[in-house]
Subunit: 397 residues, 3 copies
Amino acid sequence: MKTLQDYIDKLNALNFREMYNKDFFLTWEKTDEELEAVFTLADALRFMRENNISTKVFDSGLGISVFRDNSTRTRFSFASACNMLGLEVQDLDESKSQIAHGETVRETANMISFMADVIGIRDDMYIGKGNAYMHTVADAVQEGYEDGILQQRPTLVNLQCDIDHPTQIMADTLHIIHEFGGVENLKGKKIAMSWAYSPSYGKPLSVPQGAIGLLTRLGMDVVLAHPEGYEVMPEVEEIAKKNAEKSGGSFTRTNSMAEAFKDADIVYPKSWASYAAMEKRTDLYGKGDFDGIKKLEQELLAQNAEHKDWTCSEELMKTTKDGSALYLHCLPADISGVSCQEGEVDASVFDRYRVPLYKEASFKPYIIAAMIMLAKFEDPSGLLKKLEEKGTPRKFD
Amino acid sequence: MKTLQDYIDKLNALNFREMYNKDFFLTWEKTDEELEAVFTLADALRFMRENNISTKVFDSGLGISVFRDNSTRTRFSFASACNMLGLEVQDLDESKSQIAHGETVRETANMISFMADVIGIRDDMYIGKGNAYMHTVADAVQEGYEDGILQQRPTLVNLQCDIDHPTQIMADTLHIIHEFGGVENLKGKKIAMSWAYSPSYGKPLSVPQGAIGLLTRLGMDVVLAHPEGYEVMPEVEEIAKKNAEKSGGSFTRTNSMAEAFKDADIVYPKSWASYAAMEKRTDLYGKGDFDGIKKLEQELLAQNAEHKDWTCSEELMKTTKDGSALYLHCLPADISGVSCQEGEVDASVFDRYRVPLYKEASFKPYIIAAMIMLAKFEDPSGLLKKLEEKGTPRKFD
Amino acid sequence: MKTLQDYIDKLNALNFREMYNKDFFLTWEKTDEELEAVFTLADALRFMRENNISTKVFDSGLGISVFRDNSTRTRFSFASACNMLGLEVQDLDESKSQIAHGETVRETANMISFMADVIGIRDDMYIGKGNAYMHTVADAVQEGYEDGILQQRPTLVNLQCDIDHPTQIMADTLHIIHEFGGVENLKGKKIAMSWAYSPSYGKPLSVPQGAIGLLTRLGMDVVLAHPEGYEVMPEVEEIAKKNAEKSGGSFTRTNSMAEAFKDADIVYPKSWASYAAMEKRTDLYGKGDFDGIKKLEQELLAQNAEHKDWTCSEELMKTTKDGSALYLHCLPADISGVSCQEGEVDASVFDRYRVPLYKEASFKPYIIAAMIMLAKFEDPSGLLKKLEEKGTPRKFD
């Protein structure tokens, strides 16, 4: 792509009309062309920023963020995406709100949305909760819009739930599309989405699930590797299988990290809690059994510690394609000898891939901005054209 | 009103020149025409947003918020109002500031105001404190402006104090103006501002006080109902009486919820703490007697529990005009069986009025924006004309 | 200066090209002309704001703030500076981030900077830490920019470190330049940078160090006064000595507040912790010896209490030049009988200088904005010209 027109032409060839006035929950709820529209628009917005063309499509308006878990990169990515489009971020800090005061999600959703064009939510702590919460919010604002309460309907962007982490995995994917010179070059490539040991506990399942749910659509050979007991949600595995069949790729599962890494073109070694454990934890939480949660935590940490050999070592990396598979991570990684004694990855491996890893992360603001634009504007490619013609500089030089 | 010009013409017929460079503390400190200017400008700003005309009148500048109590809807309303006008919200989080470091209110007020066009304050916790604090801040910035410290004078907007809650009650009022098809149709209508049972404690008096202080000016029959011991500030009752005399309406007080609801056109059932109890609490707080406060709290909760029959039930609603009085609430409400076992309102009543209730809340951002514009601009109606001619779209489509 | 062109002409006569794409850590790392460029541009931006000319040079972009200590005026100054230039402030609240999750400073610095044009950091708590931390961040984003991770390189502005407080001391200096009618009139003027008693403990050394490091460059007679045991960093004293030699001023140290105040044109009485004590504290902190820190704190408070006579009294003020030296403070001050029983300054002295003190503080947003513009734009004076020609009003009237 050399000019903005190239991106516009590509967009014009895609059918993504169904995204207008909708939300973004899970990648597998979107068609291939819709996902390609996100990638293309993300690249177009990046091109514009790099060429100092303003991408402000809102003169005013709010972007609401709700973070039910700590976050640095997603928080800043969402803020960057909103800012780029002209929306001001307003964080719903539940500790400073009257939410505990007994109001319903439906009510809060409407109360914060009078001037909101987007609501971004991160809620990944409990199985069966995060995605459901997002749907409750989206239904509430849809209803509010239909009832004439809201003048505009804010689009909901899933900033990580219990099932998927679409902004992360789409940023990861756009990164590998760029690294391999085009999505067509990913066909037949082997990627190892592997569990790795971490001394911490309870990391969300949304990244491995998001990975197998998306990458299987690109004709890749996707291998999910983990020790016994670290299974992901069976529903998502089913989706991965069907995707692979359709795309001409494959989806396999193994309990051997070595098998997954062998001849892999790309590796994504990362810790997560098992689905079964997370479900148990959610149940205990529901019962308010905090002693039970502590006990479970100790058990899970002990279980983790039995698999310290699941680490992305130099030795394992040597077994990948030409000894030089592309290493992916959503960051921050647990680096052996740096952020912990023994962790997900050898320090020398991490360090060798630091620059591509940081680039991988840099796609997230653009992915989010593209999701917002596709949901809020009926004709995004026409809009790009108008922005180019207007030619307001991002930085007035 | 069909065109922006209609609002401009209406504004031009009103005298609100005294609002320029002033603050907004209490509705009864403003003339009828000034309040009508707020309503009219709020409607005009809403009209503009609905017609995708930018209302940005500041290219840069800050809107400072100070919340001394938790808040969701007022926080977001203030943020929305500022954003709509082009001001960036900067929250003075007293826990992250050096205020405890021993500086005076006068100093802080100046230090945060070098680039501030508005300061919004919510301080409703202690009788005799909130409004006084706001005046200290407003005096300080006025002095700072006169002394050449501040290049511009930020206007102060009362986002709820111990005496009044003007942005709430004016939003409520604009809602009923719309529901009844014009302020002239409110004349002679009966409104019940009634205490209602809540299992929580210490809710501010500013809503009932704001209601009787404003609605009595519209020629309405305003009935204030509460159990003995839940009196509001006598000064405000005096104002309500005088208002009613002047407007041709009436102001009565009763200890019977049934009496208040009978044939009412509008009902506003809501819990509050008694003035006497709040004064006692303020004294204890002043003495640092936290055990005393806890004991008082228990006493007051027990006192509340004697009045569980003060609830907006279906039975009571049937006694209102045609059994279908408009139900108001500032939200969040204590809904029986939803947010608490027994509360202010039956779930079925609340649910039937959910849509109008949310619409009621939707006026607050516009009310706040109108207050800011009337204080900061000498010729707001000329400004609207210029904005229309400029025609910058709110959302670039 | 009467027109914007006067400021532009002055800027054009200065060499500050080396500031482009660089950071601002310590005033003594900048040339005289570079500092003069900051003062001139700060005045120009103030002139523009006072004349309702928009200074927005960014259409979008983020200004990241990192406050590792409480702050009111610096926080609002940074927010104001960013807002004035068109950047949206995004605070990196380390308690809400995943930083504890074991990621490196290098990683965080890149992750927050994808759309950042400036990073402002306040980190003044531990000797040898704050400035070093800022350099780690600046090196990381420089590397990220060179590696193609960051599309633009955010400039780093030191909002207070263990060594210097450049935005404070430059605002103080711009204030005295204005009070004395030009920097040339400061030559030969005596300024007393004096320790003063405060009942609190551990105030940073950055203000006295910043003062002697900058004011000695202006040909002033700078006297540093403190009781024995309250020495500042010897490296900074060395810099002050060399500066004084070069500028034709002088730098002397005394253990007598009276001597420092005698015939002084300007006095800056302010408490600080001794360098030796702060080093000891940093060591204890490093060892996690919190009991040791508490014990040290008690010792230091006792030591402070031996010097309650070090206060800016009316008596001492009488001994200054014509009994009317200009009184400076970075605020908030410990005012005897107001914010504490016995403190840094008599209430009557403070009150007499309140207006100039607040004006002193009002320069900080402009100083910060000027630092950002000089680092981010190759031709700031050309930019001023363009902004004037464009003539967008700050407030649309």
